[in-house]
Symmetry: C2
Subunit: 247 residues, 2 copies
């Protein structure tokens, strides 16, 4: 705890983008409070990666278990591979029975929204980060959201971030006192190669990151997430420090 | 579960205002999914009241434990009475040690913000309610926020609700598809007497509600919350169905 450094909250998934945000916050000399959200995701290894990255930077780190709040989706249901979830439709209606247990009935979902959509995920992450930022006196929240990689996700667009910022400005103590917590999205308009170049320049510990959709180690090298990452490294003529089953 | 009724999420604290929202949703024939947030508040009885109200209306009910996310404040610290918290300053800096345990150091806080302020509380409640609404297919979130009773709370003002609505409109799947979840604040501009009159007209089970700041039963009758409620009933010439130690 260093009282002379500005405090920043970083939303840290343990992936490449959020690790790049950690590197940037560290480079700017900020005292980092990393937040990782657990939401029944299949890859517990994502959390282990986040822990390793937080340790790398000597950051404060808190893992928040969002429990069973989220709907059934390809990211939260261990049994469903993404292509199947896409077929079923990823949004679920989850009636709660008398014991509080949920039972899931798939509903149809428009094709333009990816199957991995989780209801209001970034809104919830940012709301937590905001509460935490006010709590520790942080002036800035870093989030690695990226519009280009996620064209179907409404909560990854600059318009959404601007609307969230406006909501902070009018809805928080700090905001109404003219010292609003800033939602900082340094990667929002970058492509994957740009992000990797940026990460390498900042000496980010990319060997600790997890990108594979299936959370595999070595990474599968075949899912969309792995492919996007591998293409980025290839475009830059750099080699990826993590291991892959293929390639 | 009735597939012919519209679904609504109601943020239910077990107090008079949120119970009035339950009554309104019930009157409008909506299938109610009540959400109650536990955040280390001293009065566990608030949750018991919420459960009783949810049972009264045969509503689905989920209690969400927000754990230790919030800062020390008069509403979350069992040891500190509000007047003391106000003196200390209610915002806390909570460094996390290596084991993830938090230690709280009070910071000063501007006098214009009430001591009971919890960082971004309504933002977090609404973010959860929104995620839940998208999950169950609800079109509307009821919240009993009230601007007149809470002049110092930025997140109880109509400007904040409008900004949150805008954020939903651009940041969610439903919003971008033109069928946004609506944040509905029927009580936001009412005074306490108006709310009580409305509640009585809707036959709301006010005997089940808990208002006392200290969570006492019988209610203390002396805290600001009890006084405001008693004044409201007095203005209407009605008697309050709950018991008080005094008066």
């Amino acid at each position: 705890m260093d009282s002379y450094r500005e405090r920043a909250v970083v939303i840290l998934s343990g992936g490449l983008d959020s690790t790049t945000c950690m590197a940037l916050a560290d480079c700017r000399g900020e005292d980092i409070f990393a937040l990782t959200f657990a939401y029944n995701q299949r890859h517990i290894r994502e959390i282990e990666s986040a822990q390793a990255v937080a340790r790398h930077y000597g950051a404060h780190h808190q893992i928040i278990d969002l429990g069973a709040v989220f709907a059934a989706s390809a990211l939260t249901s261990a049994e469903i591979r993404p292509e199947v979830a896409s077929f079923l439709g990823a949004a679920g209606v989850t009636p709660l029975d008398a014991t509080g247990r949920a039972e899931t009935t798939p509903l149809s979902m428009p094709a333009s929204i990816p199957a991995t959509y989780v209801p209001a995920r970034n809104i919830l992450f940012l709301a937590y980060a905001l509460s935490f930022a006010e709590k520790v006196g942080a002036r800035r929240i870093y989030t690695g959201v990226n519009a280009l990689d996620n064209p179907g996700y409404p909560d990854c667009r600059p318009e959404f971030i601007a609307a969230f910022q406006r909501m902070i400005d009018v809805g928080t103590k700090a905001g109404t006192e003219g010292r609003s917590v800033e939602v900082f999205t340094p990667l929002i308009e970058m492509n994957k190669a740009d992000i990797i170049r940026f990460a390498l320049e900042l000496d980010a510990p990319l060997h600790l990151t997890l990108t594979c959709y299936y959370g595999e180690n070595p990474a599968c090298g075949e899912c969309d997430s792995c492919r996007l990452r591998l293409e980025g490294f290839k475009l830059l003529g750099q080699s990826d420090p993590i291991s892959y089953r293929k390639g």
